[in-house]
């Protein structure tokens, strides 16, 4: 991660000061910020500070510690991501279960085709259409996601609804698809037939036997989808002009603020890894057949 952000730019001073800056000014700038040292030295130095919680100072907003910019952006992004998460997980599972229980029928086809088509449309496009319909034509919801300072939680939810729905639309299809596949497989399995033959009522079989087994693969997909959610935040935050970590990364890249950019990328990457780790642990807890360490 550091490599992509740090090794590629060539001359940081040149990038920051612009093409026309005199050579001496560039050299001076690089000396001041330590960006004239070999990349490996810079990396070790950065890593050393980063593990102690010091991400350095912003290059564009001189003297401002990176963390002071990152923290509010991170809080904002987490709010949006959490909102989208509580919407897309239940909706996706519900859609998948409905489709799976009615496999091959119109409900199934509608959910599958619409879900997957919506999943491949870029979130900027869905976001734009949502803004156009619900904010501009109908006037129900605000155009941007950025609320006035000091707004209450309900107002914040109102501002976050459109961006969250735009993210949900992109993520819904995959969750629904995997859940549907799981349900179809479970319905077909021997244990389901056994349960029916035992004389258990339909709803009990579905709840206790089919859904329990069907939702296994869904958990794994929710993890990867949450990763995509982080990526989708960039475009959505830009579209809705929402001061989150995605917009921050964009602005840092725009201003050649490499310390801020590196911090942003590292935080996003760490978040992604954390989500994957939590999903793996959850998976092992729920599924007794997987026990890490003892297998193989």
């Amino acid at each position: 991660m550091f490599a992509t952000a740090q090794l590629l730019p060539g001359n940081v001073g040149r990038s920051v000061l612009g093409r026309d800056a005199p050579e001496e000014a560039v050299a001076e700038y690089n000396r001041e910020h330590g960006t004239d040292r070999p990349a490996v030295v810079q990396y070790v130095d950065w890593l050393d500070s980063a593990v102690q919680g010091d991400l350095g100072e912003s290059l564009a907003q001189t003297g401002v510690p990176v963390w002071d910019i990152v923290e509010p952006a991170l809080v904002n992004s987490l709010k949006l991501a959490a909102f989208a998460f509580v919407l897309f997980v239940p909706l996706g599972i519900l859609g998948g279960v409905l489709a799976g229980l009615r496999v091959g029928r119109p409900t199934d086809r509608a959910i599958t085709v619409v879900g997957l088509s919506l999943a491949v449309i870029p979130e900027i496009v869905t976001g734009l259409v949502l803004i156009l319909v619900f904010a501009i034509w109908l006037g129900w919801l605000p155009v941007t996601a950025q609320w006035e300072p000091g707004a209450g939680p309900l107002t914040q939810v109102k501002y976050l609804t459109l961006p969250a729905v735009a993210l949900v639309i992109v993520l819904f299809g995959y969750i629904a698809r995997i859940t549907r596949a799981g349900v179809v497989e479970a319905l077909d399995a021997d244990y389901t037939r056994t349960a029916y033959l035992k004389g258990l009522p339909h709803s009990t079989v579905i709840r206790r036997h089919v859904l329990r087994n069907a939702l296994m693969p869904t958990i794994a997909v929710i993890a990867t989808q949450t990763g995509y959610l982080v990526g989708g935040l960039v475009a959505i935050e830009y579209l809705f002009n929402y001061q989150g970590i995605g917009l921050m990364v964009l602005q840092a890249a725009e201003q050649k603020d490499f310390t801020l950019l590196t911090a942003g990328v590292v935080i996003v990457g760490t978040g992604f890894l954390l989500v994957t780790l939590v999903a793996d642990i959850l998976f092992a807890l729920i599924n007794p057949r997987i026990r890490y360490g003892t297998a193989e």
């Binding site: 952000a5 060539g10 491949v120 496009v125 734009l128 501009i136 960039v234 579209l239 890249a253 990457g269």
Partner: protein
């Protein structure tokens, strides 16, 4: 000995291919998808030659007119005909996205073949690098690389997307190769004294083509997605390109006054990605049964 190497006699393989093609042509989603893609490809090739107005330079005296019989999709605030721009706007994305996909597929396939065939240290190292690359969301990674390169040309977008997609394709190919190298024909080729590159590219590669083809079409959909998103946030294609996402980015601040300048290019992008997705979905169903 060479008969041993052939996985199936020629005629049988050809019959299987014909059967797959027949199944594909019977799938409505494949037909619809292909027709839409074909439409946009011809628009891209013909471009300004078939549009009623010049998509980039022709500025009609009518600024920001809503859709009418004269301007089907209205005009933008510079007086350019939106319909002409939507038709011509397919060109850049249909150049960048497929090119990036092809680059990524070639590179990713080579990588996947090597790691899957040799395994061992090469595989372990490569897999860790791939994991690291995949830990960063595509858009964030692309923005970082584009910002670092400092240039925002068509080429940098293409290369960035190719770089990001290669490991994903490599992973799929590796999985497919791992299944193949256990089979007898690979062992037979090895015993025959064939060298590794020959076994990899001549023996194994043809047998892992179906998953590679499916993966490539899926990636093409994502490449269009990625190019559009990168362009919209200002890190992809740049004006004066009439690209759809350029049009959206350009007119989006004026969305409330002139919705038609944004909605039509947005619908065009959607139709293209959905069409690509329909094709990849039907390919997957036919090839991976």
């Amino acid at each position: 000995m060479s008969e041993l190497a052939a996985p199936a006699p020629g005629s049988e393989a050809r019959a299987a291919r014909r059967e797959r093609l027949r199944l594909l042509l019977r799938s409505p989603s494949f037909i619809i998808g292909s027709v839409v893609i074909g439409f946009w490809v011809s628009c891209a090739i013909l471009g300004g030659r078939i549009t009623p107005y010049d998509p980039i330079f022709d500025q009609t005296p009518d600024l920001s007119v809503s859709p009418s019989s004269e301007y089907w999709f209205g005009t933008d605030r510079l007086g350019r005909d939106v319909f002409s721009r939507v038709i011509a706007g397919s060109r850049d994305i249909l150049l960048v996205a497929p090119l990036a996909t092809v680059l990524a597929t070639v590179f990713g396939t080579a990588l996947g073949l090597i790691t899957g065939y040799f395994r061992g240290i090469a595989d372990d190292t490569m897999s860790r690098v791939i994991d690291a690359v995949l830990a960063i969301p595509l858009i964030v990674l692309a923005v970082t690389v584009v910002a670092s390169l400092g240039s925002r040309s068509v080429w940098s977008v293409t290369v960035v997307i190719a770089i990001v997609f290669s490991p994903i394709i490599a992973r799929t190919v590796r999985a497919a190769v791992l299944g193949e190298v256990q089979l007898d024909y690979v062992e037979a080729a090895r015993l025959r004294g064939e060298r590794s590159p020959y076994v990899m590219f001549v023996e194994v590669l043809p047998n892992v083509m179906p998953p590679i083809l499916v993966e490539a079409t899926i990636r093409l959909g994502y490449a269009i997605f990625a190019v559009a998103t990168l362009t919209f946030i200002g890190f992809g294609l740049q004006p004066p390109s009439a690209d759809w996402a350029v049009q959206i980015a350009d007119n989006y601040p004026f969305l409330s006054e002139q919705w038609w300048t944004v909605l039509f290019p947005a619908l065009a992008i959607s139709s293209l990605v959905v069409a690509v997705n329909l094709v990849s979905d039907s390919l997957q169903q036919v090839l991976e049964r």
